[in-house]
């Protein structure tokens, strides 16, 4: 039986009871501040306890933000980094990075793909989770055709390598049409948004598998606890 991976968030995992095969790709998109990076952190924490090598590519902020975030949840970041089980890759500071792993010179999507691939090659014998947060930031300067071609070839390569990948997209950054097509390249789509009354907005999440035609259209409420992370309320429908 093939090993399958989960998000590490109970309610969300119940929505995909069979889990995701390594080689699957997850698209997470949503409003700014809704909790996409927190979800990425949960995904990494789950990978660490399951013995995966977790690679986090930080594009919007320095990797230290994720390092601090994990520490706040009492993750022994140093133990995992020293053992080479957690790689925080700086794609934010570029040449000025003081991180052990960084991706510089991202003015070409081809170059990015090669640099990302180089890092993955170094861990080819392991079970790997990859998070790019956020991929949409990297794609801003490029044309629709280039972006779609990049997705096609990159996701194909990740699938071949058996990488369980989670790409974060910030809503409103890329063209809606590009996002719709992009969604079809991924095995699992997760949408996070704010809803409810403006005075008291609620965090909502929808999860589905676009490729198999299944999409759980019912948004579920979730909260973010400073101690436990994302707490999903699967039985509370909006």
């Amino acid at each position: 039986m093939k090993t399958r991976g989960f998000f590490g968030i109970d309610g969300l995992d119940r929505a995909i009871p069979q889990g995701m095969e390594y080689g699957s790709q997850i698209l997470v998109h949503g409003d700014t501040g809704v909790g996409k990076t927190v979800l990425a952190g949960e995904f990494l924490k789950e990978g660490l306890v399951c013995g995966d090598t977790c690679i986090y590519v930080a594009c919007d902020e320095p990797p230290t933000v994720m390092r601090n975030h994990l520490r706040e949840f009492k993750v022994g970041v140093m133990a995992y980094e020293e053992a080479g089980r957690l790689l925080l890759v700086d794609a934010y500071e570029e040449d000025e990075s003081r991180e052990r792993h960084f991706i510089a010179n991202q003015y070409s999507l081809e170059k990015y793909a090669v640099l990302e691939s180089n890092i993955l090659e170094q861990h080819a014998d392991r079970k790997v989770r990859l998070v790019v947060d956020s991929l949409s930031t990297l794609l801003i300067p490029f044309s629709q055709e280039d972006v779609l071609e990049f997705h096609r070839s990159r996701l194909k390569s990740l699938r071949k390598k058996g990488i369980l990948a989670l790409d974060v997209f910030v809503d409103g950054v890329l063209d809606e049409r590009v996002m719709t097509i992009t969604g079809h390249f991924y095995n699992v789509n997760v949408r996070m948004k704010f809803g409810g009354p403006k005075a008291r907005p609620e965090r909502l999440i929808q999860v589905g598998k676009v490729k198999s035609g299944r999409f759980d259209a019912v948004p579920h409420r979730f909260g973010i606890s400073p101690v436990f992370g994302i707490i999903f309320a699967p039985d509370v429908e909006v």
């Binding site: 090993t3 399958r4 991976g5 989960f6 968030i9 109970d10 995992d13 889990g19 660490l48 306890v49 399951c50 013995g51 902020e61 320095p62 230290t64 933000v65 390092r67 601090n68 520490r71 706040e72 009492k74 993750v75 022994g76 970041v77 140093m78 133990a79 995992y80 020293e82 053992a83 089980r85 606890s225 101690v227 436990f228 992370g229 707490i231």
Partner: protein, 333 residues
Amino acid sequence: MMNNYEEVYLKIINSIYLTLSRTTGTIPFGGSHFLEEITRGVGEQILDDYGEQLIPESTRPSDICKAYLEGLGHLEFLDKGAFRLEDEGNEVIVIMNQDRCIYQDFCQGVHEEGLLFYCPRLGALQSALKKALNVEYSTEVEFEPESGVCRGRVFPVKHRLRTEMVHFMDDTLDIAGERAVLFTKDVYLSFLVAVNEYAPFILKKVLFDTGYRSFLVVAREVKGHYETPEDYLRVCFEEMKSCGMGRIELDLLDISSSHAKINCYKSFEVAVVKGIKLYRTPRVTCDLLRGMLSACLTVIFERPIICEEMQCAAVEGEYCEFHAYPEEENEVE
């Protein structure tokens, strides 16, 4: 030259001790303590019967031991020439020739079978010292096969394992004076299943915190009694093993960087989840022990330490591997 009766009696005495060693080795919660109590108890009985004739020259531990040995020599029971006693601080070093010791069959049997061992002769000296000085003593002995000499130590007890202090009296069980209860892995598993069903997101943290908080008290208590970190950790690990957590061994200790690697064999937490589909995917499971180890290292390094389980026998391998590092302050972003 021993007569037939003496030989038979010696065989009986030696086999009684050997059987006691075999039996106490299988007793949970301080089998070793019980064996020590038995060997010491025999000495106490002799003292009760003949103690009035044993008058030491001074209150120096070696003089008290000499008086005891000489007393028994007068009773024509002991070949006192087989012993040499030396003071070393408040300890007594006892040098003995094994071929002149009446317990040599017991001693050899214990070493061959790898059993618990307390030397009955030293146990008697331990009793004499306790009676004379009202101080708890313990003993240990090393045998040098080349010279045929046993080197024993009788030393004041620094600290007793909590798990050695288990009593069942007046319908209540207590460990080191604290009310206790025993339960099997099924009860523990039921607890895990219940938490996992109602609030799965808290399980890992609850187990870690439980281990951490509960062992912090024990770790602080142990720390005061041991000078080297290795000795302190050995006692902490012994305490965890006596509680049934598994056999814990230190693999690496770097004091300068407050870093340690620790392995656990036959982890209780692994045994609980083995063959049970508690989690969706195989994962590291020893969070209770992880918390205990973090507490133990936090006390010895005097700074917050966080221990991660990097490999768990519940997933693969023969043992669980823990890596500990200081809990770092968040960096300025």
